[in-house]
């Protein structure tokens, strides 16, 4: 009887260990799987050629990712520019100024924002942002635009990355020890001066990590951007031009990709590129965040 229990314990332990090791290797498995599939296109052209060519003609066997990479960078850039000031001010307000009750009310609302599916953001973008750009913003600058543009994608993405940036930066601001603030206040600094010179300086690496996390979220976001960014395979030259970001390209061509040679391989290479960029950003910001966390403890 006792042996049976011990045996059960041993077996469970081994089983769980194997499962743990396997699941921590999923990242590598994904990278490897995508690499296997993209090898056939890498055999015909070099990676740099694919990344920097602007010619996208799958039927002729030309797969230049440059317009899509630039599309992604434009859309992500606009999103980050909009999100940074709003999120940081909100995070400072929530962690330094707001009453506890306000904090308790806003947190679930921001969590709710994080839970809204990206298609719903897309629908909202099509209904609200796109017409607004078409009817008001573009004419204001004397331009004609369908509304489906870098700006529309950027605005929708900015809202989608609000929750993560706010969540992580509030945590970072709250982890700054209270004594540091008291020291500054005791010297006669106002609350804002304390925040500006002490809290932000202390929290800076963590805040940057939070922004990078948001940025990498925006980088890989697919559906909402696909619905509002316009999807024209050309390098955009202003925020009112349409863009065709990399994730949208991958999602939009699932239908035809098996009928054109190398097409599927090219799209899976695009996913691999996306994965690598996002992994790079994520690993850096996670390392920064764990170091900050450890320092506080």
């Amino acid at each position: 009887m006792r042996y049976k229990r011990l045996l059960k314990d041993k077996l469970a332990s081994k089983f769980m260990l194997i499962l743990t090791i396997l699941s921590s290797l999923i990242v590598f498995l994904i990278a490897f799987g995508l690499y296997q599939r993209s090898r056939s296109i890498l055999a015909t052209k070099s990676l740099t050629e694919l990344l920097f060519s602007t010619s996208w003609h799958p039927l002729k066997g030309e797969f230049g990712f440059f317009p899509f990479i630039m599309g992604t960078i434009w859309v992500t850039g606009v999103a980050v520019v909009i999100a940074i000031p709003l999120c940081l001010l909100t995070a400072i307000y929530l962690s330094e100024y707001a009453h506890r009750r306000i904090r308790e009310w806003t947190k679930p609302l921001i969590d709710l924002l994080a839970g809204i599916p990206s298609v719903v953001y897309g629908v909202w973008g099509v209904l609200v942002i796109v017409p607004m750009i078409k009817n008001h913003i573009a004419p204001f600058f004397g331009r004609i635009s369908t509304g489906y543009s870098v700006l529309a994608g950027g605005v929708v993405l900015a809202i989608m990355i609000f929750p993560i940036i706010i969540h992580v930066s509030v945590e970072i601001f709250s982890s700054v020890p209270y004594e540091v603030r008291e020291a500054s206040l005791a010297l006669g600094a106002t609350k804002w001066q304390t925040v500006k010179h002490v809290v932000i300086r202390k929290a800076l690496p963590g805040v940057i990590a939070a922004i990078v996390l948001g940025l990498s979220r925006a980088f890989g976001e697919t559906m909402a951007v696909l619905m509002v960014a316009g999807n024209v395979a050309k390098v955009p030259s202003s925020v009112l031009d349409p863009a065709y970001p990399l994730p949208a390209l991958i999602a939009n061509n699932y239908g035809e990709m098996l009928s054109v040679p190398l097409y599927d391989s090219a799209l899976l290479l695009a996913s691999l590129v996306l994965l690598m960029v996002v992994l790079f950003f994520n690993i850096i910001s996670r390392v920064v965040l764990t170091t900050v966390e450890r320092r506080v403890q």
């Binding site: 769980m16 209904l127 996913s271 764990t290």
Partner: protein, 283 residues
Amino acid sequence: MDRRKIEENIFKSLMIASTLIILSSLMIILITVIVNGLPAMNLAMITQTPKGGYYLGKEGGILNAIVGSLYLAGGATFLAILISLPVVLYLNVYAKKGSRLVIFTRFSFDVLWGVPSIVYGAFGFSIMLFLGVRASLLGGIIAVSLLILPIMSRAMDEVIRMIPEELLDASYALGATRFETALKVVTRQAMPGILTAVLIAFGRGIGDAASVIFTAGFSDYIPYSLLRPVATLPLAIFFQLGTPFPEVQNRAYASAFILTVIILIISIVSRILARRFTKHIVK
């Protein structure tokens, strides 16, 4: 002296303004979905599958997508529980605290959490090519379970980590093995938190489109087998919005309304469970 006060006030009002902007963007999104979706709602939307010519504005509903999404997210959640619960229990009960494996696993879940869903879709697709499976419920379940695995594991890990060490010690002192402690003490103590984690993951699974676009396909019928293609709500919204007909676009808004309501219900239920959990925690 005065300038400092003015600066303080300017920044304070800027902060309040940006908080209000962010909260009102949530309100505007919800209001837009309700205002556009509610008038287009009717009983047929949620009780019928698409009839012939549905995408041209003829009769029918999106029952296929609602049921499909529930099947898909349900299956994926089940699969993700089977993997993440043992892993999280291993990290917190069996493994030595602060060991390399623990740190590495937590880190890799953190990183996985940031991987875009389209990449999971593409990876799922390449597995399916490898196994020779066509776009199907099974393919979708695999891709979505990979997507929600890190979300679920991290959320479970956070609750199980909070269980006091003494509780485990008490169980060991009574002669229980670690396995029995993990199953009968840890899991039970963390149950509401685990359910919350499961619900959060389920919500993400229902709402995600990019991972199923390659893997689950689309179908006007409710699938009767794992190997049949399946419709999902997000893709149904996407396709209906893409048609040039206003009546069908209105149905897209109604479908977005249905999806949002499902997500809101899940979120509220998980919030209630989370509150119950904090009430019972031993401090």
